[in-house]
Symmetry: C2
Subunit: 307 residues, 2 copies
């Protein structure tokens, strides 16, 4: 069962409080003129035992920061749940908590509470993050309009290609490129500098955490529209271009690969004039995503994490 | 390392935002005129694989409800993080989600968001719960006054004695008593009906989750006071009295046993006139807890869950 099925089966149909949860059709919830999001990362699934704990901490904070800033809002507060697995020792915990404080300071986030428990097996980490809106609007996933243009921030697919490099250390690629991609996997950099621009200009918005195709599908489904995107317009890093040239099969990772933590949004024409924003397509009638100039249509259903 | 050490080492000294976190000296945090709490329960630590998932769900909600109502506030909103372990199947999940919805309805809680992930090993569940204050005050842990009286709700120690019965099925005790105690372990019943009374009358308050001694110590430490309690005044259920008579060593569980989810609070004289409230002692000078008429002083440091 993937998360969409879970929501449909267990939440949407039983939800009497859609004004707070946005009927679970967004990655944030709304209450008390604030927006909230929460994400969990599990050792062995979302990070690994031998990952630098300083970076694991930053990843935990950043995957959550990403959810709020993609709505055009700067996050302010968080709560931290640590279930520390059997391999956690003082050295791991020291480095991890240094990473937490480093990013709390960087993002000016107030940690207001949490819970710490031992866990019998692996480490499981959750962060809940929120911000008051001060009557500012936030950008929903469900409000794209017909003929809006589709934009992304930064470059797409790097993180998933970085994971490939990590899992295939013998793959032929210049070290500077594989290091670049692996760093993009290890350390997301949510586009906090674009949050206000998104707030002022976007009609709908989400972060790209499950993969470009999957997250665009969410915008389409919740906005009751289709989309048309040009594969050749999707912005790639030099490293991503190089690795795809070496192994063209990896092209599907640009579409399906998760963990980019860039922003996917819709809006009027011309937003690509802003630095680090690229126009890749437009919203259409219907409910299909039409992927122009892409020659490998296998597995295009996007990455859905099974639960 | 226990949770107090963790907070001292990694949080309090590095906290620039004490007005939000209450310097981590309470079990709630404060932001946006709302209070927040979060608790995690892990399979194999806080619940077991063969526990009824319907009750596990209720336990998850109730341990969190308990934190907010002990502050004299009715909780309103929550977010749910499910990391579902390898033994979770559709039947488990169906029952678990029925338990979630049952208690969301019972406590009139709005589930506004969450995250679902697979986990490689055991199941780890977190809930974050909050309520707006509408400029109502909430009762802190740190505000007990000298010569305030100390009160508890309900009966104390049942849950820990229920866990003993569960782990020692051959122990001689009438079935009706062991069943009563085991049910108190499986299904906490936070005293939501006393939340307004606490709000109006208590000077300091906490729920009893780590054990009476340990939670009273928190009130003492954060209020810079000591306490004197009469063991013979601590309210016991009939079942608890019977099992202690059978095995007097179990008396320490009244003091140290966790998971009661009753309320421990301080206030002026006379509050025991209210139903289900018992006066057990008073706040004193110094920083010691003096336990009167208790004859077994071993292991009186209270239950501290190690992390």
């Amino acid at each position: 069962m993937n998360e969409f099925d879970f929501i449909n089966k267990y939440l949407s149909s039983k939800n009497n409080f859609s004004k707070f949860s946005l009927n679970y059709r967004d990655d944030v919830g709304y209450a008390n003129n604030s927006i909230f999001s929460t994400d969990t990362i599990c050792e062995g699934v979302h990070f690994y035992k031998d990952d630098n704990p300083f970076l694991v901490a930053k990843k935990l904070i950043r995957v959550n920061v990403s959810d709020i800033i993609s709505k055009g809002i700067i996050p302010k507060f968080c709560l931290l749940n640590l279930s520390l697995g059997k391999d956690v020792d003082d050295i791991w915990l020291d480095k991890f908590m240094k990473g937490i404080h480093s990013d709390l300071n960087f993002y000016k986030l107030n940690l207001i509470g949490g819970d710490t428990t031992k866990n019998l097996h692996n480490t499981v980490l959750s962060l809940t993050i929120f911000s008051d809106l001060k009557d500012k609007k936030f950008i929903k996933r469900s409000s794209a309009k017909l003929n809006n243009f589709i934009y992304v921030t930064g470059t797409i697919g790097d993180s998933s290609l970085g994971l490939f490099c990590r899992n295939n250390p013998d793959f032929h690629l210049l070290k500077k490129y594989s290091e670049y991609l692996k760093n993009r996997y290890l350390l997301p950099k949510p586009r906090i500098e674009l949050a206000n621009f998104i707030n002022k200009n976007a009609t709908s918005s989400t972060d790209i955490s499950d993969g470009l195709y999957s997250d665009l599908k969410n915008i389409c489904m919740t906005s009751n529209l289709g989309a048309e995107i040009n594969f050749s317009k999707i912005p790639l890093s030099t490293a991503a271009s190089k690795i795809i040239k070496e192994n063209p099969k990896l092209k599907t990772r640009i579409i399906n690969g998760g963990d980019d933590y860039e922003i996917l949004f819709t809006g009027p024409d011309g937003l690509e004039k802003k630095k680090n924003i690229t126009k890749i397509g437009k919203m259409t009638k219907g409910n299909q995503i039409n992927l122009i100039d892409f020659d490998d249509r296998i597995n295009l259903d996007g990455y859905k994490h099974e639960i």
